[in-house]
């Protein structure tokens, strides 16, 4: 083979560009950091000099400043008309009064509310969970973005570790077990002690789970890229020892949560705990069944595969998130959930129907027809819990819609709820026989899984994270980047899914007609795959903003301020003098 200059190969150029982007961004960050350090250093010097000057102030000079302060502070007493009786706001009705504001490029949203005291140790644990989750979101979607690009430029690279077939499961598993699962567990460490009204049984256990889950995703990703996997069943590509780490992590936290609930001081068990504890128990059942070898030969493997991949989605991610929603939504709206019993109904019906629907991934296959029928019936039955849940959430919103425009967290909740309704019902529709003819095996499935895992799960998790973290750290993210995160993620998701759904419908119809060759149906998809890459890029960008927002919410740095007003100067002097006395 002739050797060309490798830098003229499009694949190499694209790879280099992809590598260059984070490098450039990182360099810019380093420069900004260095500048800040220098600035801080200079300010410190200035402050020292200033302190010298303060110490040497003569009494006359102090008096002068005091005099000036008095003059500056002069104002009318404002009770010239009202008299001497001082108004008292004994019930704290007047709050959040802000008379001056900058130009309103962005609407001022309501600030996060101060909340009851959370132990600093628990705060730290939760932030570690959410931080790791954010990392896996970035990692997993970077891989996903790259895999999406490969549909447009298949020859981007020729390294076996970066080949499409190996990276695809790296993407799905990292966002499943790394991002969403860690975020859910971290949030559960906040919710369960709150609704049980007792401290968490063990914080140490929380760290053990965190380490095990992270280890599982790191090892799993490396193994997948090296070509070591479990045999190609979707979402159970990690080999059993890797998945075992994840499972043990969930077991020990489940025990921890269970103990916390057992010693609760409330009489009832709040419905959030039903969902969360059940999700964790069910995940363990699912994982054991999926990896236990006794029933996996021949068609048994496929039956278990259908069961596993759908229970993983519905009984772990969905159930868990619904539990979190039953805590956070009423709290954000500051009112009780519309109907507690609807939540309970949805819980039992979800278990009843969802468990049955796994085989709907293999309609018309060699799996027994009765099982396929059960799956279709179960999928239709899912209308009940989905409608019950959505009604419950929307009726809780009712009367509080005005809060939506004034909050930067509620839009995430609302989009999550809307996709919960549309995405889940789309799943029901996809299980029917005719829709299977058109859509099965096409990218429609990919679009659907993104509408649900992204539209429901990710949006809900972001809403919860933006709610919780400012309460824990007292720092709020910049509104403009939260807004940008929200819109980029939403528009990106729509750009991603709608063209894919449209294109794959055309493709399915072409297959059914049978008068065109298969390769023409591949060529047909090319423009829709491009749209997918564009939408994916927007989504990916939004995750960078999310990571930035998260960083702003948790960073520890304090600003150094040089006193300038007479009042501040006096205060600083008093403080400084006191220090000298105690020294």
């Amino acid at each position: 083979m002739e050797t060309k200059n490798i830098f003229s190969e499009s694949g190499i150029i694209i790879t280099l560009l992809l590598i260059a982007i984070p490098v450039i961004v990182a360099s810019i960050l380093v420069i900004i950091k260095a500048k800040n350090v220098l600035k801080n250093f200079l300010k410190k010097k200035e402050l020292e000099k200033f302190n010298e000057y303060l110490k040497n102030l003569s009494p006359e000079e102090v008096q002068k400043i005091e005099q000036r302060k008095k003059e500056l502070e002069f104002s009318l007493s404002n009770n010239e008309l009202a008299g001497d009786t001082t108004p008292i706001d004994a019930k704290g009705l007047i709050d959040n009064v802000s008379e001056t504001s900058s130009l309103r490029f962005i609407e001022q949203k309501k600030k996060s509310q101060a909340r009851p005291y959370i132990e600093p140790d628990l705060t730290k644990l939760i932030l570690w969970y959410l931080g790791c989750a954010t990392f896996w979101l970035l990692f997993g979607t970077t891989v996903g973005e790259y895999v999406g690009i490969k549909f447009v430029a298949p020859d981007v690279d020729h390294y076996s570790w970066l080949s499409f077939g190996r990276l695809r499961p790296v993407h799905t598993n990292a966002v499943f077990w790394g991002w969403a699962s860690l975020a859910m567990l971290g949030l559960a460490y906040y919710v369960i002690p709150r609704v049980s009204n007792v401290p968490i049984a063990s914080i140490k256990t929380g760290y053990r789970t965190l380490i095990l889950v992270n280890a599982s995703v790191i090892l799993g990703s490396l193994f997948l890229m090296a070509g070591i996997n479990n045999g190609g069943g979707e979402y159970r590509e990690y080999i059993w020892p890797v998945m075992a780490l994840f499972g043990i992590g969930v077991i020990i936290s489940l025990r921890n949560f269970y103990k916390t609930i057992a010693k609760r001081t409330t009489k009832e068990i709040y419905v959030s705990n039903w969902y969360i504890i059940s999700a964790m128990m069910f995940l363990l059942v699912i994982a054991v069944i999926a990896y236990w070898p006794s029933w996996q030969n021949g068609l048994g493997e496929t039956i278990i595969q259908g069961y596993y991949m759908h229970q993983g989605v519905g009984m772990w991610f969905m159930l868990f998130n619904l539990g979190l929603m039953y805590y956070f939504l009423p709290q954000q709206l500051n009112k009780p959930i519309y109907s507690y019993s609807l939540g309970i109904l949805a819980f039992w019906v979800q278990i009843l129907f969802y468990t049955l629907i796994g085989t709907h991934h293999f309609i018309f296959s060699a799996i027994p027809w009765w099982l396929q029928t059960v799956a279709i019936v179960g999928s239709a039955g899912m209308i009940i819990p989905v409608v019950a849940g959505t009604t419950n959430f929307l009726m809780t919103f009712k009367g509080s819609w005005h809060k939506l425009s004034g909050s930067y967290t509620l839009p995430f909740y609302l989009i999550g709820i809307i996709f919960y309704f549309t995405g889940s019902l789309q799943g029901t529709a996809e299980a029917f026989k005719f829709t299977n003819l058109v859509w099965h095996f096409t990218d429609f499935t990919v679009a659907h899984s993104h509408l649900t895992m992204y539209g429901i799960i990710c949006f809900m998790l972001w809403g919860f994270i933006y709610t919780v973290v400012p309460r824990l750290t007292g720092k709020e993210p910049p509104q403009i980047t939260v807004g940008a995160h929200f819109w980029l993620a939403l528009i990106g998701l729509l750009f991603y899914t709608f063209p894919l759904m449209y294109g794959s419908t055309l493709r399915g119809l072409m297959w059914m007609e049978g008068t065109k060759s298969f390769i023409e149906s591949v060529e047909l998809m090319a423009p829709y795959w491009l749209w997918r890459a564009i939408g994916g890029s927007l989504m990916w960008l939004s995750h960078i903003l999310f990571a930035y927002n998260f960083y702003v919410m948790v960073k520890k740095k304090e600003e150094i301020e040089i006193p300038s007003s007479p009042k501040d100067i006096l205060n600083a002097k008093v403080e400084l003098d006191n220090q000298e006395v105690t020294n």
Partner: protein
Amino acid sequence: MEFFDNHKKLFRTALVLFVGLTIIVAIMPAINNQENNAPLPGYEPLTQEAYLGKKSFIANGCVACHTQQVRNVDMDNVWGSRPGIPADYAGISRIDFWTNTATLMGTERTGPDLTNIGLRQPSLAWNLLHIYQPGRIVATQEALQLVAYLQSLKQTPLPDGKLPMEFLYKKKEIPVIVNGNNANLPDGKLLYTNNCMSCHQANGEGLKGAFPSLKGSPIVLGNDLELFVNIIMLGYDARPEYAVMNAVGLDNNLTPEEVTAIINHEKTSWGNNAKTVTPEEVKKIMDFIKLTSNK
């Protein structure tokens, strides 16, 4: 309610309900299918080479784009002659200590289904070219194993006398020929795309050093119809500078009308301009081939 306020009772009930349903819809059917199905009499287990190839297929995640299931709907007829049945998968068991059973039925058909690829595309040269792209052939041991696996993927015929399950959702019948009029022949271009194009290419010019050009080919343009039909049905290996051609016609059960349509398409495309043939002529030769070949 007391029941809802007792965490032991509540969570135990939820777990029992879930596990109970799971046993009914997952574990029992799985065990039942595992125990009560056996491979068909004609089933050939994977050779050692093909087995290693399957491992490579798994390691590289090929299942992300290629299914291995022919559903019992007519649109899947292109991927196999009969719908898949549990017995087709009965011979597949756990790979090794680390790796689960892999039926590789898949859920996405970004690329073609591979159930019957061993019959549909049996050529070694084509497979290697397809996997590594023209100009990138590196016939490593692993590549050969992978192709050995792909070539082993064939639908096992049902035992004598058994009729396969019918395909559901039949397409509207394509009109069948009545009097040998060309207008009633099947679509030659589509048949060419499905059966010939992967080697001879869309422009009919083949690939240098692998597949001969059909444009201006003496066999295509000439009058030796018997040789032409023979090559389509039984394959060809007369020219050492090109790869071996497999028995495309026989492997894919092409009918005389289909072969005629392909021949006429080749005789009149890419600048070729030769006299077309009728199904009757082709049928005569094919009947003779069937008599002489013992397949």
